[in-house]
Symmetry: C2
Subunit: 310 residues, 2 copies
């Protein structure tokens, strides 16, 4: 029977000024799946490693299972598939953990079926998995995990997913403090209306970030990495947020903010060395709030999910 | 005595999704000034042609006069200057008429004083003139008129003006129906708060427009040229707006919207031929609302204001 192993990376959604419209992928960490075709007509999850027993083994409740089912359904195929899921991403961390599992499984099943869909065409199946797992079919984690780099979700109706060409090297520091924030809680606190003034500020910053990435202007990127919509409210979930962010900037980061709905913070830097120093400074500052944290440093991942072994 | 003649082009502010943060310059129409240094210590306006007698000759109340005064003041120079202003832009048209007069005068006095400031450095003086003439120191007309091309006003505090590199040819059709809309009226009707949903939509579109301009993607530009903030409210000032816009798109425009606060509409097209056809279609549609209009078609102006003669 055919077997395949795939990897899908963690992602940072929102990216300060890109609330609900932007995300990017990092090189690692990420989730891995092993997929085996079999003679049953069912999609099953045979084991999950690394989740501390917290994720459901039922295929219909797990993003990896739902993604594969939804993909096979679209082909009208009753293919039996056994999924092993190796979670390296912490749950509820704001690093796109549920997205990465779904994306890894999708890329694997697509490869097994002869690569009939492009990465962009896989986005809707991964979104469907997000809807089942998280209650909302957001694309700002799954699209960058699938496609790599920075991905703009210009619109959902119809879906318009745009890969943003980035013309400079950027390094990402992820610092995951050991607390958990539920996406649903984190969305609930947001206001349903905002001031026109804040909307204009956010517009200027997201436009500035896009121009900075295109024109390889790190200072413009730095000036644009600001969030006047979600961060002022969500920061309350993360002890010491303002100070940790300040330390990141002092240590050389171009910008720093909440990854997705948190509690992980991300920082972008121009060099690998800076991104390491930034991580250390942030981790030390979190300790002042008695929070231990994990640091992940890597380049922006230009390609997204990948096949590890056939 | 030294004499100089300068031209500053009309500009389109807002550009659908770039409410209050984006503008671009066209090749024509535009305003011209003739500046003469003299031995007085005053800035005077000796004549204004083309305004139908509606603009003040007092230098302290006219954008051309204020811009020159404010520039000379910054240098600490008591230089006498005589300004002749040739208005080619209709007043209250939404094409940046007041901005063009101020910018032409600024570029001229800067040249006469030995080009001591860059175009970007001139922006604050032109903004000061806008403040006197229009009551608000907006930069989304003066910055593109000075610098050319598409200009992003990322922030006002501190001022952050970014020239956006555009990697494809674009043509602009301006259609000016013969009604007048006051900027102050047009701003007054806007709501001071908007839904988070609309703010996200506008973010996605301004980001899409920036990426489309950078990546030379006319279809992405087209999909992004939408305004959910100002247009739904301001369209009421312009008889037949929805139909005129529809005709522009049908005739081949990438997008169409209100230029500044109107009543002029702008449309962007990929070819000169299309931009001509678009203008004709829009003009015909305005006639159904018994509105005559003028059409101006030109390339996006990459350089902005220029010196015509020394």
């Amino acid at each position: 029977m055919k077997t395949i192993k795939a990897f899908a990376p963690a992602t940072v959604a929102n990216v300060c000024c890109g609330f609900d419209v932007l995300g990017f992928a990092v090189d690692f960490p990420g989730d891995e799946v092993v997929l085996k075709l079999n003679n049953s007509k069912e999609v099953t999850i045979s084991k999950i490693v690394g989740d501390g027993g917290r994720l459901p083994l039922e295929a219909t409740k797990n993003t990896a299972g739902v993604a594969v089912q939804s993909f096979l359904q679209s082909l009208g195929v009753d293919q039996g598939v056994e999924i092993e899921l190796y979670k390296n991403l912490p749950l509820g961390s704001g690093m796109g953990s549920s997205a990465a599992s779904g994306v890894a499984a999708l890329v694997a099943i697509n490869e097994l079926m002869g690569n009939i869909k492009s990465r962009e065409e896989l986005v809707p199946f991964a979104m469907e998995a997000e809807r089942i797992a998280c209650g909302s079919a957001h694309a700002d984690n799954v699209a960058p995990s699938l496609m790599g780099g920075f991905v703009l979700i210009r619109d959902y109706n119809p879906l318009d997913v745009v890969k943003v060409k980035v013309n400079l090297d950027l390094y990402c520091t992820l610092v995951h403090p050991h607390i958990e924030v539920k996406t649903s809680d984190s969305r609930r606190v947001l206001r349903s209306s905002i001031s026109l003034r804040d909307a204009i500020t956010q517009s200027g910053n997201i436009a500035g970030l896009m121009v900075g990435l295109a024109q390889a202007d790190p200072l413009l990127i730095s000036r644009s990495l600001k969030d006047v919509i979600a961060e002022p409210i969500r920061a309350a979930f993360i002890p010491g947020f303002e100070q940790v962010k300040l330390r990141a900037i002092e240590a050389g980061a171009l910008g720093c903010g909440i990854s997705g709905s948190g509690p992980t913070l991300f920082a972008l830097s121009s060099t690998h060395e800076a991104s390491l120093e930034v991580g250390e400074a942030m981790q030390l500052e979190f300790l002042k709030s008695h929070l231990k944290s994990d640091i992940y440093v890597s380049k922006i991942n230009p390609e997204g999910a990948k096949i590890l072994a056939r």
